[in-house]
C-alpha cells in the first residue's frame, strides 16, 4: 500500500503536468458579405484575400456560395479584403450588377471549428 502511495505521489503529478500539444491548427472560416436587409443578393463573384496578422501569410479564395465564403485557415487573427462584382435585386424586383469592396482590419478566427465573420459591403459605383 505504501509503495502504491509513493508511486501515486511521485509519478502522477509529474505525468499529469506534461504539456498537451495543441495540434488542432485549422478552423473553418465563414466570411459573410452583408449589404443590409433591403437588398436581395443573388450572386457574388469576387476574390477574398485574408492575411494572417501574426505570420503575414495570405490566403486567397473566390469560392463564394451566395454571399458566404467558406475556407479552411490556420487559427489566428486576420485582416480581410474582398473585391468583386455583386448581382442583386431591390424591393421592386429590379436586378443590378455593381462592383463592390469589403474590408476588415481584424477578424478573430481563432476558435476550433466554425468561425463566422460578417463584412459590410461598400458599393463602388
Amino acid at each position: 500500500m505504501r509503495k502504491k502511495l509513493f508511486c501515486l505521489f511521485v509519478f502522477l503529478p509529474f505525468l499529469a503536468a506534461c504539456h498537451q500539444d495543441e495540434d488542432e491548427l485549422f478552423a473553418t472560416a465563414e466570411i459573410v458579405l452583408s449589404a443590409g436587409d433591403t437588398l436581395n443578393i443573388e450572386r457574388v463573384q469576387g476574390t477574398a484575400r485574408l492575411t494572417n496578422l501574426n505570420s503575414k501569410q495570405t490566403t486567397t479564395s473566390s469560392d463564394f456560395d451566395g454571399t458566404t465564403l467558406r475556407l479552411q485557415l490556420l487559427r489566428s487573427s486576420y485582416s480581410a479584403d474582398v473585391e468583386g462584382i455583386l448581382r442583386y435585386r431591390n424591393r421592386r424586383g429590379a436586378s443590378f450588377t455593381k462592383r463592390i469592396r469589403a474590408h476588415s482590419d481584424y477578424l478573430a478566427l481563432e476558435k476550433t471549428g466554425r468561425n463566422e465573420a460578417v463584412l459590410e459591403i461598400v458599393f463602388l459605383e
Binding site: 500539444d21 495543441e22 496578422l53 505570420s55 478573430a108 481563432e110
Partner: protein
C-alpha cells in the same frame, strides 16, 4: 581493441595500484557515476578522498566554417576556476565550484540570444551577426551526510551569464539560472537506492540595439526551421525569457565493488518568450520534456570492468500564441498553436575496462534529431550512428610526478537524412541559412583529441599543467581545431 591494450601494456615508468585523489576524481569511472552524482545524496559518497583544485585555463576552438551558424565558428574562453570536494568525516562531505570566464565567441549569426541550445528555436536573429563577448560567473555548493543507512544531501547551482556585442547589431543577453537539488538515499541489500528532486528558475533579458541609424536591419523573432513571427519581427528588439522546470532522478548503485547500477530521470522545462514592450504578452512557449535511463553492471575485482546501455529521449514542443489586435498597447492573447516539434534520441552501449593505471572506454550508439514545423509543413531530420574509443593512462615517472594522458577518437556517420521546405515561399537569406545548417547536420564527423596533464607534488599542495588539442573533420569539407591549456594548484 587488442592493439590498444597492447600499447598501454608497454608504457614505461608505470605506477602500480596507488590510486591518488586525482585519479579517483577524474578517471573514466566517473563516466559511469556522472548521472548518479547529480543526486547530492550520492555525490556525498562518490569519493573517498578530498580533492581541491585552483586553476586558470583557456579553451580555444576554430571552425573553418561554422558547423551551426547560430553557435558561431569558434571561441576563445579564458577562465579562472576553483573546485573542491572535502570529506569532513566518513559520513559527511561538502563540495563547491566557483568560476569566472571572460572570452569571445566568433562569427555568431542568426542568433542574438544567449543559451541557444536551451532556447532553440525561439531566439532573436539577424543575418549580420558578428563576434560576441561572453562573461560568466558560476557558483555551486553542496552538502551530504549519512545517518545510519540513510543518505541525505542538497546542493545549489547558480550561473550568471552576460553576452554582448559592442558593434552593430549590439545584442545583449543577461542570464540568471538557479538550480536547487535535494536528494535522499537508503542502503539495503548491498545497494544504495536513491531519489532526488531538482527545481530550476531561469531568466534572460535579451535586446538588440543599433547605434548607426542607417545600418538598422530587421531582427527576426525565429519560430523554427526558418520561420519567423513576422508581426513582431523587425523593430521589436527587446525580449524577456522566463522559465524553469523540475526533474526527478532515481538511482540504484552497489555499495560494494561489484553489482548492477541504474539511473532514471524524468524532466520537464518550460520557457516563455515575452515582448518587453508588452510585458504580459507571451509570443512563444517552449516545452522540453525528457526521459533518460541507464542500466549496467560493473565489477572492480581483478581489474575494473563495466558495461552499460543508456537511452536519452527529449521532446521539445513549441507553442505560438495567437495574438489579437487592440487600440491600446495591450494585445489580447487568443490562444496557442503547437507549431514546432523536435524529437531527439540518443542511445548507446558503453564498455569500460581498466587496470590500476589505465582505462579504456569503447562506445557505440545511435542518435537522431527530428524537427518539424506544422504549417506550412517543414521538416529536417538526421540520424547518425557513432562509435568512440578512448583511453587514459596514469604514469608516475618519479615519486613527485604524475602524468595523465588521454586519447579519444570517434566517428559519427549519417545514416539517414531528410529535408522538406517550401523554398519557393522563403526569403533567400532564410534558404541559405537552412541549407547551410542542413549540410552540416547530415555530414559525417571524425573526431580525434589528446590531452596530457602533469602533476608535481609539493609538501602540502601540488602544481599542475594541462595541455590538450583536438581535430574534427567534417565530410562537408570543413574542419575544426581546438586547444586547451590550464595551469593551477591542487590541495
Amino acid at each position: 581493441m587488442n592493439k590498444i591494450l597492447l600499447i598501454f601494456s608497454f608504457l614505461p615508468l608505470v605506477a602500480h595500484a596507488q590510486s591518488t585523489a586525482l585519479e579517483e576524481h577524474t578517471n573514466f569511472w566517473q563516466e559511469i557515476a556522472r548521472d548518479s552524482r547529480q543526486n547530492p545524496a550520492l555525490h556525498g559518497v562518490a569519493f573517498s578522498s578530498s580533492f581541491s583544485q585552483l586553476d586558470v585555463e583557456a579553451d580555444w576552438q576554430r571552425q573553418s566554417e561554422a558547423f551551426v551558424l547560430e553557435k558561431g565558428s569558434g571561441f576563445l574562453l579564458p577562465s579562472a576556476c576553483v573546485d573542491s570536494y572535502l570529506r569532513l568525516s566518513d559520513q559527511t562531505a561538502v563540495w563547491g565550484h566557483a568560476s569566472y570566464m571572460n572570452g569571445r565567441q566568433h562569427s555568431v549569426s542568426w542568433n542574438s540570444t544567449s543559451d541557444f541550445d536551451l532556447l532553440k528555436p525561439y531566439v532573436l536573429a539577424d543575418t549580420l551577426g558578428g563576434d560576441t563577448q561572453r562573461e560568466r560567473y558560476r557558483f555551486e555548493g553542496g552538502y551530504a551526510t549519512q545517518l545510519n543507512r540513510w543518505l541525505l544531501g542538497a546542493e545549489m547551482l547558480f550561473r550568471a551569464d552576460h553576452e554582448y556585442r559592442d558593434i552593430d547589431p549590439r545584442m545583449r543577453g543577461i542570464v540568471n539560472d538557479l538550480t536547487l537539488r535535494v536528494g535522499a538515499g537508503y542502503e539495503k541489500w548491498n545497494y544504495r537506492w536513491a531519489m532526488a528532486f531538482e527545481g530550476n528558475i531561469y531568466k534572460q533579458q535579451n535586446s538588440v540595439e543599433f547605434y548607426r541609424e542607417l545600418g538598422v536591419i530587421p531582427e527576426y523573432q525565429m519560430t523554427g526551421l526558418g520561420t519567423e513571427y513576422a508581426r513582431f519581427s523587425g523593430d521589436k528588439r527587446s525580449m524577456h525569457y522566463d522559465g524553469g522546470g523540475v526533474r526527478l532522478l532515481f538511482d540504484v548503485e552497489p555499495t560494494q565493488k561489484s553489482g548492477f547500477f541504474g539511473h532514471l530521470e524524468l524532466g520537464k522545462r518550460h520557457y516563455r518568450r515575452l515582448v518587453t514592450e508588452n510585458y504580459t504578452l507571451p509570443l512563444t512557449e517552449l516545452y522540453v520534456q525528457g526521459v533518460k535511463a541507464e542500466i549496467g553492471v560493473r565489477s572492480k575485482e581483478m581489474g575494473s570492468r563495466a558495461i552499460f546501455v543508456d537511452f536519452d529521449y527529449t521532446k521539445r514542443s513549441g507553442d505560438e500564441h495567437i495574438v489579437g489586435t487592440s487600440a491600446t498597447s495591450s494585445f489580447p492573447d487568443l490562444g496557442v498553436l503547437t507549431m514546432y516539434h523536435n524529437h531527439r534520441l540518443t542511445t548507446s552501449l558503453t564498455a569500460l575496462y581498466g587496470k590500476s593505471f589505465w582505462n579504456v572506454l569503447v562506445r557505440a550508439g545511435y542518435k537522431s534529431d527530428r524537427e518539424r514545423y506544422a504549417y506550412p509543413e517543414r521538416r529536417l531530420e538526421t540520424a547518425h550512428a557513432f562509435g568512440e574509443v578512448s583511453g587514459e593512462a596514469f604514469l608516475k615517472p618519479s615519486e613527485r610526478w604524475l602524468l595523465t594522458c588521454r586519447l579519444k577518437s570517434s566517428y559519427s556517420a549519417c545514416v539517414s537524412d531528410d529535408l522538406a521546405m517550401p523554398f519557393a515561399d522563403m526569403k533567400p537569406a532564410f534558404v541559405a541559412m537552412i541549407r547551410h545548417n542542413y549540410d552540416f547536420a547530415k555530414a559525417h564527423y571524425t573526431d580525434v583529441s589528446a590531452q596530457v596533464r602533469g602533476d608535481f607534488a609539493l609538501k602540502n599542495y601540488g602544481l599542475f599543467a594541462e595541455l590538450g588539442g583536438g581535430f574534427v573533420h567534417c565530410s562537408a569539407g570543413e574542419r575544426q581545431v581546438s586547444a586547451r591549456v590550464a595551469l593551477g594548484i591542487t590541495f
